[in-house]
Symmetry: C2
Subunit: 125 residues, 2 copies
């Protein structure tokens, strides 16, 4: 069956959450939002385009930072209201310079930072 | 710093998205929603409790299905508006009987099912 972004279930703002996962390692990198047009652009370009809620505009990941996400595969969940994007991430996924956005863990009731900016990233050339 | 669920950023309905990931394999299992109370219950019980939007009630994952999610670690993202739950999943995470909810892939413009109900699950004893 041909995939049609219009058949997904969006929230009242026309958005659907998208989880980005590094295809090779399984690392969950970030969660952001897409609309039907950004989904179409992502599939056409093979490069992830989100919808920025704060800027109310398309957010072609990496356009300013260079930290592009190449799409390996898009997956849809059972309720059709969440996407999983398997990607190849260039550099840091997080705007803080960390490889992923989930760098704070709750351990024994405390918040602990478990990933430093730049940690585990390939050296810049 | 002590973790306080009230410091997270919730949507207008008081909810925050939570991604469940199998701790050992990195498999992304599902995405669901939590409120501050369900986060507290999850941390206290060591077992994942979501908020069911359709039933408007707590959803202690596995209470009816037996498909419990034991919490290994809760993580918070940089914007404090998304959670990553590392879990040990008993049985299927998805209500369709599949190991995870993201069993539909978009390949060459088509939707393709890539995981069967029961596939890859340990036999029921």
């Amino acid at each position: 069956m041909a995939f049609d972004p219009e058949t997904l279930r969006y929230n009242d703002a026309g958005l659907i959450p998208a989880i980005a996962q590094e295809a090779e390692t399984g690392e969950v990198l970030m969660m952001a939002w897409m609309n039907a047009d950004s989904i179409r652009m992502t599939l056409e370009e093979g490069r992830v385009v989100y919808w920025s809620r704060s800027r109310a505009s398309f957010w072609r990941k990496g356009d300013t930072s260079g930290h592009v996400q190449d799409l390996v595969e898009m997956r849809v969940d059972c309720d059709r209201d969440c996407l999983l994007l398997l990607v190849r991430q260039a550099g840091a996924a997080c705007h803080t310079g960390r490889r992923n956005c989930f760098y704070t863990a709750v351990r024994e009731g405390d918040e602990v930072e478990i990933l430093e900016p730049g940690e585990g990233l390939a050296p810049q050339t």
